[in-house]
Symmetry: C2
Subunit: 503 residues, 2 copies
């Protein structure tokens, strides 16, 4: 970076990422045991730091950097990381300046109130108490898409916040295929004469022992404990503060070890992404995962393609058994494998299995799209939810708590987020397909517990790039394809036909 202007800009951006790192530590702290009486004051500190980042994003100084750096001769000589940083800052600035400040401020207050209202409404299974808030939130989002602009479908403006490059056209096709193939698969599995035994899953497994297992599995995944730590929380998450400090949290259900074991593998997958971003991106907005969907592809790759694979347990079942109090006595690895892959229709998304999960997402996507385009009104949402649930999964919620009120996302104003979850499954299967062409011995590696090559392949193809490549760019470079549901469908069909002994 010979250019003085470029250096100053990079310093400026580094300062913003430093603030974000401080915010990250404070947020992690709040969720891992910060004393409750300090929370109110801590929230103020967080608010102040966030305002500072917002201010720096939209300042006259930022605007003048972006203008001057785009100037022909200057631009040509910029480092590639700087160019992509400029583009990212321009994008954020455009979003932030297109939204009227007053409206945005009111919306922040609205969603804060809506989250409390939602919590109570969910507790009472009473949609009507939440409805007025949701109506205002939907209204805002209908205006928001006009402010920030879109091509084609209005919903594309929201998708862009979470999965840049993805459009309603692409998703309609992908989700359409999934729907077409998964709905009959779910039915076949439900109708199967063979159903896996699961009673052995629910014996008491002490939290401390689950923690020991979780740590061993993270190590075996090549998670670097010198660049991370494992803590306990109510809602597990992974957080990348910088590539040298990427933390995982989990929770321990003493009567269902799966929550911690698969939760840890899932968050560990997110963490491996953040630990292995090329350090040349440190101090820029490119030093993070490129999208929600690609991030989810990493967690799901590890959770499902590795963690729910029989070959993985051929290596790790002994570890689990040794830490348990005998609950797996007389359960062979095959029975264990079928037990942890039990699948079928259920009401709650976050408890759904690998096979049905994308149907829960498709339901939400279709409802969101209709709401934003004005084809559905909030008052009709509960009935629409229940109808779609029946259509996709063949079951109908008894009340709104196990239906339309189950997720916090809409209360928080996160429209456009849900599709990323299902896209993560689709991407993961595409990556697995590409990996198989290069690592011919995937299952053998799992059987040996040699997960290094798997992690290295993901680092080389996904992790290292951080946010310097867009989701579709990564897919194209690694798989030669666009978004393609076929690999996920093939995988699920093959797997569940085998687990459920279907012909």
């Amino acid at each position: 970076m010979g250019n003085q202007l470029e250096q100053q800009f990079r310093e400026y951006v580094k300062k913003m990422t430093n603030y974000r790192e401080a915010i990250g530590v404070l947020a992690w702290d709040l969720r891992t045991g910060a004393p409750k009486k300090g929370v109110e004051q801590r929230s103020e500190v967080l608010g102040m730091l966030s305002s500072e980042v917002f201010r720096m994003h939209t300042s006259a100084e930022m605007k003048s950097y972006l203008l001057e750096l785009r100037e022909g001769k200057v631009w040509e000589q910029l480092d590639d990381v700087t160019k992509k940083t400029v583009a990212e800052c321009e994008k954020v600035l455009k979003k932030l300046t297109n939204v009227p400040e007053k409206e945005y401020e009111q919306y922040v207050i609205l969603t804060a109130k809506a989250e409390s209202a939602w919590e109570e409404a969910k507790h009472n299974a009473d949609f009507s108490a939440f409805r007025p808030y949701l109506e205002q939130i939907v209204d805002y989002n209908r205006k928001y898409v006009e402010w920030v602009g879109y091509e084609g479908n209005k919903y594309n403006a929201l998708l862009d916040d979470y999965e840049p490059g993805l459009t309603v056209d692409i998703i309609d096709e992908v989700f359409g295929k999934l729907r077409e193939e998964i709905v009959p698969l779910v039915k076949a599995v439900a109708d199967s004469a063979y159903q896996p035994k699961t009673d052995f899953l629910f014996h008491r497994f002490p939290a401390a022992k689950q923690r020991d297992v979780s740590i061993e599995i993270l190590k075996s995944m090549q998670y670097d404990f010198d660049a991370g730590r494992l803590d306990t929380t109510v809602h597990p998450f992974a957080i990348g503060l910088n590539p040298g400090d990427v933390r995982v949290t989990t929770k321990y259900d003493e009567h269902d070890f799966r929550s911690a074991v698969f939760g840890t593998i899932h968050e560990g997958g997110h963490a491996l992404y953040e630990q292995n971003i090329d350090t040349k991106f440190v101090g820029t907005p490119l030093c993070t995962g490129t999208s929600m969907g690609i991030h989810e592809s990493q967690s799901l790759f590890w959770e499902n393609f590795v963690g729910r694979n029989k070959a993985f347990w051929e290596k790790h079942y002994d570890l689990l058994k040794q830490h348990s109090a005998g609950q797996f006595d007389g359960v062979d690895v095959d029975a264990f494998y079928r037990g942890i892959n039990v699948a079928g229709p259920s009401f709650i998304r976050i408890e759904a299995d690998e096979m049905t999960y994308s149907l829960h997402i498709i339901l939400r996507y279709e409802l969101e799209k209709a709401l934003i385009n004005g084809d559905l009104e909030v008052k009709d949402l509960p009935a629409a939810w229940n109808d779609k649930m029946e259509e996709l999964l063949g079951i109908r919620p008894a009340n709104d708590a196990e239906g339309v009120l189950q997720d916090v996302h809409w209360a928080g104003g996160s429209f456009g987020y849900f599709p990323s979850y299902a896209l993560g499954y689709v991407y993961a299967a595409q990556l697995k397909n590409a990996m198989d062409k290069e690592l011919s011995n995937f299952e053998q590696l799992l059987r040996e517990g040699s997960l290094g090559p798997v992690k290295q392949w993901l680092t080389a193809n996904v992790h290292q790039h951080g946010k310097s490549k867009q989701p579709l760019e990564i897919l194209a470079d690694v798989t030669g394809e666009g978004v393609n549901a076929t690999h996920l469908i093939d995988y699920l069909k093959a797997k569940y036909r085998e687990v459920y002994k279907l012909s």
Copy 2:
């Protein structure tokens, strides 16, 4: 706060305290298990936030607030908290602007290097390797006292950073009395025919059990776990982030439970101070302890007057016994009490007992004073140290690692800090004397485990005021005295004559 200027100033100051709180969380995090690979980048975040606070302290905006608020009519109408905040900000500004920026920057780099050099020098017991650094540090401090100014002795300028209001004249008198009375007491104790048994102290006491004991004792001290938490560190500390979040750390030596138990009580005493500052001071620089010495008086009050009191163990000995693996079988509470109060000359300050501790401090004070006034040169320091050690404690270090190189303070440039430790003992004894006039049944309260009234007395007389009262103001208001060594001397004499069965 009707005045708009006053409100703006308070907002400005609140922003600074918010940054400090963020710095506090990051510092706590670094010391309680942050992964090592993230430390370098985290240090940069800390540096940036600290620079921001420094900038705000010395900004044109701050200067203009201070000028305008001092204006006659404006000043008269200010809230008392604002007035004291203005005075505190003026003091800091004066210090920061009197020091040449270049010299200060070089000094920060020097002390960082000096700490590494000190660590190695201590490891090799080789003062000569540390000497060039210490010479530069002493040089800087000799200049520093001229920059910031002083009345009377040059050393007063340094005292003012840690113990405002205290002077060499006061300390010479107080430490002189201590020296006169404690030196013969130490000799009498060493010569005593009776020596307490201590072998039972060193049996294995599992860390998890020590943690359970520590938590119970903190609760009994009225430490509020809804406004704090207990973690593990190498160098225990307490940190007040805001009064609703004051954290304690401790360490567990499985072959000497005293480290955790008395360490936790000590840090718990610091924490009680910070938890009980009046919330009207939140968001101002007054929301902390008023000085190092007064802070230490709180930790030492709890550690010694409560934690090393026989009456306290008449209540809590069973708790300790129940968590131990039988090491106290056949040891009655009297023998236990004598065992934990074993005392005598030793080389290392941080391992010293209550009786000899202040002699370790007097040694350092006399050497620092001589160095700053040019009466001693760094090259002559090791010999001077060893001579004083012999004079005060009757023992001579075999090498510099157990002598002049033992503490990090000088490498870090903290000249003027040491006296606060001994002043904390003196203040604690003065407070105890005052408390006894109001709570006539102190030992009975300990015997019952009713520590509420003790904590409430300290809150009413010390904690609540935060930094709104100077150390000497607190002493005068609570005890009607200045700094007075008599109470500490009387207490130590009475206690150790009893423990050692002297006539």
